[in-house]
């Protein structure tokens, strides 16, 4: 059974077909890289998988369960987590609060609405441990707005990992990072255990190819090539998409 199975997924905005007949299967533990020029429909595909956009046709299954009609907020409960190309966290709150919120969303404690969040030792300890795992424990009490872009990226990854996802979607995790920050995030992603299936969009091939088992090339909302690194790089359609025929 595939960890994530997408079948004939389609989405249009008015007359613009942004995703067409996308079929994709990720085996459990697989690291898959999605590449393609700007406008290829990569982020749209992520938004369809998380439910932020509703597909016009096709189906999405997570470990065999059809999640196509599930609301976005229900999908993390089934083990789906994501990060964004442009980091969108809770900027007014501290790093610790951000990660704790990520835990609260999945915890039965959210049904006790009038109890204090900052007194939930179990959640707080797990959040601290998650921040420590991305090297940010010392900044736990700092408001997110006062951190660097690279630190926010690591907070975002901590927020996704603390939910103990089975499938993790990473949308350009290296975008906007300095050379040193890229090294930090690369180490961090490489340390994610193999039981987490990863689907990653990335333009930085040198970094991304080290992490990926297989590569999918998208163009104009469709999958045009899929295979190992060598297969995709050697494929004539890849050259055509990136360099013209």
């Amino acid at each position: 059974m595939s960890a994530l199975a997408i079948k004939d997924l389609g989405k249009s905005f008015g007359g613009l077909r942004v995703t067409a007949g996308v079929t994709l299967a990720l085996e459990a533990g697989e690291r898959r890289l999605i590449i393609g020029p700007n406008g290829a429909g990569k982020t749209t595909l992520f938004n369809l998988i998380t439910g932020e956009l509703k597909p016009d046709d096709g189906a999405i299954a997570l470990f065999g369960r059809d999640i196509t009609a599930l609301p976005t907020r229900a999908r993390p409960h089934l083990g789906l987590a994501r990060t964004y190309q442009i980091i969108t966290l809770f900027a007014q709150e501290t790093l610790l609060h951000n990660v704790t919120l990520s835990l609260l969303g999945l915890s039965p404690l959210r049904w006790s609405p009038f109890r204090r969040l900052d007194r939930q030792a179990v959640l707080i300890e797990r959040a601290r441990a998650a921040l420590a795992s991305v090297g940010l424990e010392a900044l736990a009490g700092r408001p997110l707005a006062q951190t660097s872009y690279g630190e926010r990226r690591r907070v975002e990854i901590a927020m996704a990992l603390v939910q103990q996802p089975k499938v993790l979607l990473l949308d350009e995790p290296f975008a906007g990072l300095s050379v040193d920050e890229r090294k930090d995030v690369r180490r961090l992603l490489a340390s994610i255990p193999r039981d987490v299936t990863m689907l990653m969009i990335e333009h930085d091939m040198d970094v991304a190819l080290e992490l990926a088992d297989r590569i999918t090339l998208m163009h104009f909302g469709q999958i045009v090539v899929e295979g190992s690194r060598a297969e995709v790089v050697a494929h004539p359609r890849t050259r055509e998409v990136y360099f013209g025929s």
Partner: protein, 286 residues
Amino acid sequence: MNQWLLLGVNSITLGGLLFLLSAGFSLIFGLMRIPNLTHGSFFMLGAYIGVSFLGLGLGFWAAALLAAAAMAVIGGGIERLLLRRLAGQELAQVLVTLGLSFMIADLCLMIWGGDPISLDTPAGLSGAVPIASIVFPAYRLAIVVIAVVIAVALWLMLERTRLGAMIRAGVDDAPMARVVGIRVSRLFTLIFCLGAGIAGFAGVMGGPILSVYPGLDADMLPLALIIVILGGTGSLLGALLGSIVVGFLYNFGQVLFPEIAYIILFLPMLLILLFRPQGLFGRHAP
């Protein structure tokens, strides 16, 4: 009492009432990103419903609380049945809330008539309270105290509870909140119920001072808009300070510069929109 002191007390009293009106408006605006143009109608309809409960022989506070409960149900219904279906269509939501406000105004005129209705001050608060050799009207002081109590309760709810943490997350970034598993749509309904309920309660509270009349909604809505622009959307502290500022500008402007009272009232809003669009304490620009 000294005229200026009386004006000051009246300004703070109006500020208290305006806070009750604008706190919910600000949270709805902050969380759902729509200016709910029905909010002035919640204030007026709450006041009229309170009038009916008083007519049934209920006491003032019971009528105010029941009016608040009725408005919470009506507000929640509007969110669930109308606004949720228009999610993401901001112009449609604005037009629907504007249309609803006209419909509610007509309905009120039909049921309660066109004459202003003045509510009696609740028993026990019709007198005056001497503080440091100055005599203050007891009911106006009570409004200020109730507004402060509700402000503290709302602050504690928002800043100290898990519910508040989830609401703040929704105000900051609703899509991200959904992705971490928070049920933002339920928060929308809850905030709408809360905002409408408090506005309805404020309508009854304002009855003995402002009286209840057709057009009360249209008088209150622009004030709530100014407050939220000044204080910032989604900010309780902003709503509180904005309410007091508007209370003072409204009262002192009308006494000192009656010809340009509206310029005094709206100019700060205009300047804030131009130079600090997120307001004094807001999390986002509107």
